[in-house]
Amino acid sequence: MPEASLGKERTPLGVRRGSYDDLVQPMATSTPTDVLASEPSAASGRTRFTLAKAAGSLAAQVSRLTGRGSGVSIRGQVILKLDPNALGKSLAGRRVAVVSGTNGKTTTTHLLHAAVLAALDPAASDRVVSNDDGANLAQGLTSTLAMSPDADTALLETDERVVGEVVRLGRPDVVVLLNCSRDQLDRNHEIAALSAGWREAFVAAGVGGPTVVANADDPLVVWAASAARRVLWISTDSRRSLDAGLCPRCGAPLPPADDGVWACSSCGLSQPEPDYVVAAGEIRHGDRRYRPSLRLPGEFNVGNAAFALAAAHVLGVDPDTAIEAMESVQAPAGRFATVRIGDTPATLMLAKNPAGWAETLPLAGTDPVVLAIDSAAADGRDVSWLWDVDYEQLHGRTVIATGPRATDLAVRLTYADVDHVVVPDLESAVSDIGRPVDVVATYTPFQQLRKMSAR
């Protein structure tokens, strides 16, 4: 397979990095009074970054040896503490692709990673770095990049709140915006503000800004992306409900679209003509049609593949190569993996918010089905969203409710008239079943089940 044109426009092979201090803009976190953050010269800036990385690696090693974790996050924390400009320095000189949105980031990043790797000689795979583990805040990104100083292409799953910073510091070639839906409102109080923040970043980036691969079905994404230099619009056949009650441009009420095509009757902001259309398992782009045989279930994953396909294309990957590579992706970061917990083969599915549950719950077909709910910081401390999920579709089956917020789920299921049993302990809720079962879990129990299966 011929090597694609990765790095051709901006960062030809062998002529990258080494001069990152010249490229970096100071981060907003540095203040004149902060002695550590002020950088009198490029040389001392480089030294600081090098020392910070060494200290970060040490911290990560300690974390691993003491069994506290993978060390990814602590490495990033230490590096950023010692060198507040580290994220910008780590990004500089690389070709960057950002994948963000409230649902589907990790899977789409894995699909894009596979597509980009397929376009390279296998011997050159260390040219690509990606945070496949989903550590997507500033510390996770810094940590991942510090581990791979020689990779010239960075494919970064990026938390919604960090997109603006990465656009400013990393000048990505492509930014994928999957959706903008309600998620963890105890932290993100306003999804409208997230979308406005993305838009500001694209306005500030101007003509040097990224190509944005954006969801044409989501008004909040459309308003943000339409400020970008160039946009590839994707329309998917997904069941995601749209959370824009108001037109993001003029503030007029935006009623739910009857025929799936939305438009503001007040200011005229409307669904853009899509460049890629996903319908009935097929991705259409101009005259081309692709029907990927993904190893991941659900129409929404064909949608994720369409975003990855478009992003790969921007990075110079041939579409047929990309599709073939994406077909080999299996269980990205444990999603849809079938693992063994005790004697039970369990298929693990992650659902973090109402939009995620709407996609995932229909794929959980076993009887009983296990639903695991937690409200740790990573899950969102408020479980009010349980009432936005259509658990009524489980009528006729039995739910095993588990996790620290199993009782909240049990009350929801009582009102939904769905049979259920509460088994508070996560491990026994799954291991006692003894036959194949689907498990849908929020973030924390999902990760706990992955760990149990790895024991």
């Binding site: 409208a192 009623p255 739910p256 408020d382 009010s384 009432w387 049990a410 009102y415």
Partner: protein
């Protein structure tokens, strides 16, 4: 009181879900309808989106939570429509939660410091707080009795709400912020407001039944649900309301 006969469905209006339904607010409608159903009563849920006319002859109106811009838009639309005020004049019952609670007052200040007129159904005004209140809230309400008076919920708002002479607080705050003065929510006539947001009636079935009894004008037979009792115990304990404290209430 509206002209309703005992055989009528209880008509429950879910107001502008796309604006005031940010986090499980529709759960309150589901809880009310199901609790009527369990008693052999009939409920009719009417969901009205902005741009559509609100009925002024329904029994119970539910106003939920929303983001800043959505809140302002919803308040303006409701004031222009006028149906909820007419319905309340005729004796309809209102549960107003979070942003909806602020809208039900005389006025509220948005995130940019701009004042907006509310519906004036509750004798309260809301200003902006320097700190956002996010977390579990527990309060005790005298409009209910015994252990049922403990209200549990989750709050997520940036409002400081002051009560006027014709409003009384819904509850005294034990944990959390609520109105910001040691109380949560407000009651004026048959209109109730609270900062315990989203599906507050799921955790507080006595409050749900109280609203239904206001509508029906007669007491409802109790229904037992062990899991709701368990949930109340878990959430109240989390908020520091111990069993001893609950029994002494």
């Amino acid at each position: 009181m509206t002209a309703r006969t005992p055989t009528d469905d209880v008509r429950i209006v879910l107001v502008y879900s796309s604006l005031l339904g940010i986090y499980g607010d529709r759960g309150n409608a589901m809880v009310l309808a199901r609790r009527l159903h369990w008693r052999g009563e009939r409920a009719r849920l009417i969901a009205v989106e902005p741009g559509r006319v609100l009925p002024d002859d329904a029994d119970l109106y539910l106003l939920g939570g929303g983001e800043d811009a959505a809140q302002v838009s919803a308040a303006n639309a409701m004031r222009l429509d006028g149906a909820i005020n007419r319905a309340v004049d005729r004796g309809a019952v209102v549960l107003a939660v979070c942003a909806g609670y602020q809208i039900a007052g005389h006025r509220f200040t948005d995130g940019n410091g701009v004042d907006h007129a509310g519906l004036g159904l509750l004798d309260v005004v809301t200003e902006r707080s320097a700190h956002r209140a996010v977390g579990e809230i527990a309060s005790y309400s005298d409009i209910l009795s015994g252990d049922d008076g403990w209200l549990t919920g989750f709050e997520n708002h940036g409002g400081l709400t002051r009560l006027g002479a014709s409003a009384r607080a819904l509850g005294r705050v034990h944990a959390g912020i609520g109105n910001g003065d040691g109380t949560d929510g407000a009651v004026t006539g048959r209109v109730l407001g609270t900062y315990a947001h989203g599906p507050v009636l799921a955790r507080n079935p006595a409050l749900a039944d109280h609203l239904l009894e206001l509508v029906l004008g007669r007491p409802l037979a109790p229904v037992a649900c062990a899991e709701v009792g368990q949930l109340r115990a878990e959430r109240l304990a989390k908020a520091g309301v111990t069993e001893g404290l609950r029994l002494s209430a």
